[in-house]
């Protein structure tokens, strides 16, 4: 009936009044907090200005002694930082460096070939409950598992050393092949055939003598994965070639065995120049 309706309206009005009061309270609170923020900011700015003034005064007044003391302390610190950075760089340049982590050590093996720094590879090694490799960025064709099975548990130094040898040799072989492709592409016929480990290289190249070019083919096998020079070289020319060419083939074979690939080709072009 009407009374019930009136009751309902009264209740609604009451609710609305409560809500309004609540909003008002919140707005008041917000305004107070804003004012407080302003106050604190002003205070902060005052204190900052005061501190700067004091510092300036100190510098002007304080005399040479405090100045020097401050300076020397700072310069000692800078010197320390510099020498630590240099030390870390030296460690990196030696090829094997590491950093302690929460659960073990993170090793960094950097590779280089004859003065050129190449890629670096990382290993996260855990020391508890036993020494194991948690994760790494070593290429899959490097026999990491084999090396780890042999040395990781017993002699971690040896493990790192052997792994470093493998990685450096691989980097060196790859570098030689890349250099060959980059700088002597005019002498190479077709493409240089290699595999992931760069331990088998097959290519055809031209040798020019007496203004004639002769095709040669070379096959280099790198039996020792820790070595960046081949263990076996087969250089051949066409079957019915003159004897002088066979001599050249033998000579080249010898050069490839002793010298880096791109340097060998360098020596060929030098020899050619001296001949012509």
């Amino acid at each position: 009936g009407v009374l019930a309706h009136l009751e309902m309206l009264e209740a609604q009005a009451h609710e609305l009044a409560l809500k309004q009061e609540e909003t008002e309270q919140q707005e008041e609170k917000l305004a107070r907090l804003k004012a407080r923020v302003q106050e604190l900011r002003v205070q902060r700015d005052e204190l900052r200005a005061k501190r700067e003034l004091q510092q300036k005064q100190l510098l002007e007044k304080g005399g040479v002694v405090t100045d020097l003391a401050q300076h020397s302390a700072q310069s000692v610190l800078e010197w320390k930082i510099k020498s630590i950075k240099a030390m870390l760089q030296v460690f990196y340049l030696t090829g094997i460096s590491g950093k302690l982590t929460k659960r073990g050590v993170c090793f960094c093996i950097s590779t280089a070939y004859e003065g050129t720094y190449l890629d670096c590879y990382h290993l996260d090694v855990l020391t508890k409950p036993e020494v194991q490799i948690q994760r790494h960025s070593v290429p899959i064709f490097i026999p990491l598992e084999q090396i780890a099975n042999k040395y990781l548990q017993t002699d971690i130094g040896r493990f790192l050393s052997v792994l470093s040898d493998h990685l450096n040799a691989y980097a060196g072989r790859r570098y030689q092949a890349d250099q060959l492709e980059e700088h002597f592409s005019d002498l190479i016929e077709g493409t240089l055939q290699r595999n992931s480990l760069c331990n088998l290289l097959v290519f055809n190249y031209n040798v020019s003598r007496d203004s004639k070019t002769f095709p040669f083919s070379a096959k280099l096998l790198y039996g020792d994965l820790c070595c960046s020079l081949p263990t076996e070289v087969i250089v051949s020319c066409t079957p019915n070639a003159p004897a002088s060419l066979a001599e050249i083939a033998a000579a080249h074979s010898d050069v490839f065995r002793r010298m880096a690939l791109h340097k060998a080709f360098h020596s060929f072009s030098n020899a050619k120049e001296t001949q012509d």
Binding site: L88, F91, Y92, K99, I140, P143, Q193, L200, L221
Partner: protein, 344 residues
């Protein structure tokens, strides 16, 4: 020229986007430059493909040469296929020289001794990737060029990427030929599948960016240029920075490998309020959870910074690249079950 070959070439050319047809044909090298110049690339693709077939007629292209066109197409557009990763196992420790010619010979011999009616093509690429295309026939029918499997293999690695086609029954044959040719012992399928071949390679070859703690070389972290409005004060700057740090530790700095889904098969017991009395049986509640995304790992990486998940994320999600799997089976007690080793 065979009708089958002509039709095959026509259909292959139709698959190529119009702007790329010239490049692909040049890579193929079967048609001379003068011949290629005669094609009008502004016609409809239908007409272009007809022109190409005509020119191939002049050159009497055979099925093996046409197959090379298919390899080139698939090499440029590998993401049209789904690739699975297989892992091979070797017993001994001998260093392998891996001779490509030797590999080809052994593979062909093994496969053809079991099934004569196959078309096998090999193609080597500069990144040491070997692409193998196999068109399957039956003992009584010639190879069907539309039923092909693709294999991508990097020498001296234990991983093979296979995109089989409809004919799953030929897979054991293929696996056996691979094992024999590459001097391995056995092969098993990994729980890793995706459309993006390069990302699968990144994951198993560990070419994706992992965050290693080192002192040197110091990589300059590119600090995101935050809008330096001094009036904006980050209330939870510490929390934001913590999330960024944790995220970086887990995902690394670089781009993530591209996967489209991760699937978790739950075989765990349903734990409910005993009062609810939902399941009377003591059997595991079978449930399959599948996450799909155009780029799953990037989206997982952005979950915590976007405020949609807590950092660190569940290791079930973050272990995907490291465990090299995106199919998981979760059992009750200890966690995940690695795939079982099966030799053909």
């Amino acid at each position: 020229m065979d009708e089958i070959v002509a039709e095959y070439i026509r259909r292959t050319v139709l698959k190529i986007p119009r702007d790329e047809i010239m490049t692909v044909l040049q890579k193929w090298g079967l048609l001379s430059e003068t011949q290629l110049q005669t094609i009008n690339f502004r016609q409809t693709k239908d007409s272009i493909s007809q022109d190409v077939v005509q020119l191939c007629e002049e050159n009497s292209v055979d099925i093996k040469q046409a197959a090379v066109l298919d390899i080139i197409y698939n090499h440029i557009y590998p993401n049209k296929r789904v690739w699975s990763v297989y892992q091979m196992n070797k017993m001994g420790e001998e260093t392998d020289f891996f001779d490509f010619t030797d590999f080809k010979k052994k593979f062909k011999r093994r496969l053809q001794s079991a099934l004569k009616n196959v078309t096998i093509n090999f193609r080597e690429y500069e990144d040491n990737a070997i692409w193998i295309r196999i068109a399957w026939g039956t003992p009584y029918k010639k190879p069907n060029q539309y039923k092909t499997s693709y294999v991508v293999y990097h020498s001296q690695t234990p991983y093979v990427f296979i995109s089989a086609s409809v004919l799953k029954s030929n897979l054991p044959l293929l696996c056996q030929a691979l094992v024999v040719a590459s001097n391995y012992h056995d092969i098993r399928e990994m729980e890793l599948r995706s459309h993006c071949l390069n990302s699968l390679k990144d994951i198993v070859f560990k070419r994706y960016s992992q965050n290693f703690q080192t002192y040197y070389p110091r990589q300059e972290r590119n600090v995101a240029a935050e809008n330096v409005d001094l009036r904006i004060i980050q209330e939870n700057r510490n929390e934001k920075e913590r999330i960024q740090r944790v995220n970086r530790e887990v995902f690394g700095d670089g781009p993530q490998p591209k996967l489209e889904f991760a699937q978790y098969k739950l075989e765990t017991m349903f734990k409910s309020d005993p009062k609810m009395d939902v399941l009377e049986t003591k059997e595991p509640f079978r449930c399959l959870v599948k996450f799909s995304s155009p780029h799953l790992l990037e989206s997982l990486k952005s979950l915590a910074p976007a405020g949609m998940a807590d950092a660190p994320l569940s290791p079930l999600l973050t272990c995907i690249p490291q465990k090299a799997r995106n199919y998981f089976r979760i059992r009750e007690r200890k966690g995940f079950l690695p795939g079982s080793f099966v030799s053909p």
